[in-house]
Amino acid sequence: MNNRIPILDRHTLAGRIKHKLRIHPELLFQIPIGLSLILLVLSYLPYTTPLTHIFNPHMAHQMPNLPKQLLLQMPALMLMTLIMMGPAALPGIRHAGISSLYWRRKRSMAEYAFGYLSCWLLCDVLLMACLMEFDMFFKKYQILITFLVISAFWQTSFLKKRFMEKCHKVTNLPPKGYRAELASIRFGIYNGSACVGTCWPLMAVAMSFTYGKIIFILLITAYTTIERRHEKPGELFRLSGIAFGVLSVLLLLPALL
């Protein structure tokens, strides 16, 4: 007697989605990333305030209360973090999912994402606070060029490579119990802090742009995603370092001339 459950029909859209989500559970986490991106793009439509203007340090310093300003900018910062660093977190989210029992898979992935993005949010708040302070003493292009130069050096530095290795490092997750919950968050924090170490100058550059910020956010998002997934990113580091160096010189030339 054949008592088998019918094989999942992968010819229907629902069947395909269900199958895809089972073998790639991390895809679920692309939904908030995609929604954030749509929200950002929509905010550039006529008669709306671009979200990138909200977290513009050059405008923010006009208000004297720094903590209050930072607090007001938190939603926009979270959005930017999700867009820029969410795709780079997907491999780690997948590892957390694969390494977990099926009934706590989503929880484990969410815990990882929480740990990972928390590190970035903290970094963003600190960077924003620094930029707000700098903005009172330096011109906008000076801040931007400074971070471009820092990025150029950072991309080719020994430290960048070390952080990147830690960014890729996976840890063992216990199967269940409080150890499993803690381990997933710790794993997210471990990878997240390493990724902050890897990419903080790029985030600072994205924040420092006054014009065309959305384009640079998208460019840097694409770059960090490729960098994270590239198995041997040494060449990418060098190329991007040169690109940042050239860009800083190009921006510096008009000021000198």
Binding site: L8, S99, L101
Partner: protein, 492 residues
Amino acid sequence: MVYIRRNIWNMSSDDPIVVSYANAVREMQNRDINDPTSWLYQAAIHATKLANPLSSWNQCRHGSWYFISWHRMYVYFFESMVRQIVIEQGGPTDWALPYWDYNLPGQNSIPLPFRNATLQDGSPNPLYVSERAQGINSGATLPSTITNPAFALSRLFFVGASEFGGGKTDPKYRFWSLTGRLEQTPHNDIHNAVGGPFGWMSDPATAAQDPIFWLHHANIDRLWWVWQNMPQRANPTDPDWLNQPFGFINTSRQPVQITALQIQNIVAQLNYDYDTPSTTGEPLFTPPGTGGPNDIEWPEPWPKLSANRFDIMTLEETMPELLGATNQPLFLAEESAKVRLSIDDRALRHSASLINQGQLKRKVFLDLEDLDAEDNPGSIYSLYLNLPENSPEDVKPAHHIGNVSLFGVERFQNQNDDHLNHTFRISIDITDFLEEQAADHTWQDGENIDITFEKQSLGLPAQSEMGEEAASDSGTPDTPAIKIGRISLRCE
């Protein structure tokens, strides 16, 4: 002309093949390292610790589906070079590299010509290396758990971390963690057993400096040839594997490139063969799953076999389901250790449902994840599945599922290798073992699986036979513990 690689144990110490090899090794050792035909240059092609290495050095591939093919190429070019030197020295024109079949009875110790520091005339023996495990040069015997290739030969598929040849990897990487079963046992295990904690053979950067390395790899190559010619086996047809070129130096000292497509048939394409096709002369293994019953009473709640496994082997994409794992890392330093893996009931039922839906293949794997040690400890642990307490020796083979040894672990820690951080892992397909144990009711509890680790030791000869080795023995040195980050069971 087809050159025949012969079993070293069937030759006497004064056989022209052995004497010629020794003379050629001596000649190569005397050449400058920058000469491609020198001993150190050839060894460095595999790996070296030397600073400022040449671009043709550090080329070996391990933990990858390229392991077997790259080493066939490597041994082939080395053999051609040695043959040329042998002929120049007036040796046999049909000289071919011998192999060491450690799995044959009475041949599980290092061959006699490699043991003595000096030759009969008092001159240094070029085949002798003092940097070997204690007892090896005195004739210590290797346990069958590490010499037996039966499990590797039983694998029907080439590609996969728990299959014969290893998992698919990027050709750029020299060390990866998708070690095939032949690479693990006997390959890695023999390296560790001969090298011990501090010997040359235990470290990829020095292994090829030991003249026994080449005979060991000739045997690994022979085992691949045996596997290729067994029923239901086939080499990969993936163009990524077939057409990937690797660079070597030919006998004219010129760089050449060769692909796996050019080394498929050792007789027709490479002009060599082996004097014997199998290790025992008898059928090596009955392929699992081809003649066994399909209605095994698995301990509940293990899923019943609901379909012929081979019908659903071709699923294009799968996602493994974790069934259970250890909570904490295990440190192996003692003679033995035992771990109980609890199977999660909900995960098991979920997997059973996926198997019934055709989304899983009903294959069960035991994974040893994140293996690590400060250095390669040179030790080898055998793994036993559901081994009862105080089992006699004759019961153990039925429970033996594989070995743990960390040949190459140093390369995973090499910060300057431009490798991203990936960890050493071992993956063993235990589906057939569980089926067998379920069939004969030796595994009763379906919710737990016991894994026993037992350190394998060499059969040391009597103190009186150990000579200098016994005199220099200052106690067993402390070897670093092996850390196993997690032991897990997954269904795929």
